[in-house]
Symmetry: D2
Subunit: 189 residues, 4 copies
């Protein structure tokens, strides 16, 4: 019975809506249990109990929200030396403004959360081009929700941006179910 | 008399148009001479003669065009140990498709060209939010031209995307003029 | 019978040795067939036939060797729109000099190859801290071989740097065997 | 009279020592005033008053310390729309453990702080290969202090790692003095 944990920080509910859409997607995978928590309420036990973890964040100045970073520094990092998350499955998503039309820092933001997953020995799930909704709400690293238009005016998330989040949640859960319960990675003999 | 060199690779003339716009911008700075070359025709002498260098590339699978990479590996890298470009001024720009609405890899593409500049000890110029045209053709790392819409259909560059290139060229040339001719960075005594 | 393909470019045989070590590791996974090819001889058929792909490169000025980039631009990118590599498993490794003691660009180099995998919808395998040999030849993104010391003098790869490559090959093959033959990622209905 | 501000977070005084070394370097530039502050005590007024800003951070799980990130989210970002730091000069440095021998995430850490500078329209200063001490304490993005050896054991910073910090501080101050007081970047007419 694979467990999926979705962790997020949010300013104006955009990332929260993406987290909820991802949770709905994950829940479509048979026998999966899903929980959704803010970065501030997530504990080490939550992380070690999960088979798959998604982290979502607003983009601030080209990097993740400080509350997500605090979770990484104070909770995730304590699990690193122990290898407690080795072989679990991870995915990321982000929301952000749209000034400039070029992504405004979402790419390095998502890569830096994947960096945390890589340090922890976690399998990383991308967002394939074939994903429904991709044209409007996606990068290769994960769903990207734009709550603002290219001039920076608030326009709200489009349905497509929630559709990619839904499928990303399902994709992570599906691979987590397949990989759960086996030790995939070499350890000292 | 500061010299600006603009180097590019292009597939369907989008990056080339941005290079030409950047050249026009650079030429507005008094006493500046500007040359525009493809990655394939650029030589070590071209690079060492310049006070400021802009490099533009199409984005392919989230990184720079292989012709730009070949120039870096075979020409730029030979100047690295010599410190031949220390203290010169650099800027980057990119063009790409728009599938997904999130930038499609332009950010890591531009950062990896800046990485080359950093290795060479070059001062790096960003693209400020106040730049005319920013809302339609820009990221913080440099101008971003989108020749395709978010569904991947070719639509051509907008005027705004050439306007940001124009100003990026001028910005680089202005700082290059200010910094030219002085040794700014510490060397072994 | 999972197939693992290991692709590399090499200047002075360091990356080649890492590729061979990764091949030996992959071959320890039951029923796996392994092939090793240079970037220049790799074809689209090689890629689509594989269940798992490792790519190794020297680091040049903070990014991948231009021959690897050419493979990505001219072969991988043709498979992107088709989704031909969706759900396959990928890993990366790099070799480089050691001047500075800080990695000298290996991180962005490996991330940019992972970017190609992400665009193609491939599952990405990290290098866990528990991997034998990690202390001497590793980053979180993949094995890192240092053929030069921190002053830039050639010293050759250490055994540990080949040990991490061996295990990375085995790790990728093991996950590729587990995921092979099933469609994991959502597609348009 | 150029003003240099050096901002840092520290866990076990390594980043703090680098900050102090950078301050000493900056102070060698004639007529320069230098202040050193923790991320938590830095205010918007401190940032707007400075001509050059250096930010230093420990590396945690491949990205910056959450206290630096909080400063960026809550103080720097408020200056972004106003363009209040346009044309100022920035540099970065980091400290970290050494497990793996490959930099352990310092590269993306420093790039993400530069990303903040790029968003703010700031000129970015690299660390040239010719910098005294480079072989032991440097990356192209900035000084890198290793308080631990490649097996993760605490060994303290080397002198070289403080020497690169000293020169990076001086380099940033020297360019900040040259560029101070002029508007370099295009704005809407």
């Amino acid at each position: 019975m694979p467990k999926i944990l979705i962790v997020y920080a949010t300013d104006h509910h955009s990332t929260e809506k993406m987290a909820q859409a991802a949770a709905k997607g994950a829940a479509t995978v048979p026998d999966t249990t899903v929980s959704v928590k803010t970065a501030e309420e997530t504990t080490a036990d939550d992380l070690t109990a999960a088979d798959g973890i998604l982290i979502g964040t607003p983009v601030h100045m080209g990097s993740m929200d400080w509350r997500v970073k605090k979770l990484i520094d104070t909770v995730f990092s304590g699990l690193w030396m122990k290898g407690a998350l080795n072989g679990k499955v991870g995915g990321v998503f982000a929301s952000g403004g749209g000034i400039g039309g070029g992504g405004a820092g979402n790419e390095l933001t998502m890569v830096s959360i994947l960096n945390n997953f890589a340090e922890l020995g976690m399998v990383m799930i991308p967002l394939p081009l074939c994903t429904p909704g991709y044209a409007d709400g996606a990068t290769q690293w994960g769903p990207y929700g734009r709550a603002h238009n290219h001039e920076g005016k608030p326009v709200g998330l489009t349905d497509a941006q929630l559709v990619t989040s839904f499928h990303h949640g399902a994709n992570v859960a599906r691979v987590a179910a397949a990989l759960s319960g086996t030790k995939w990675f070499a350890t000292p003999s």
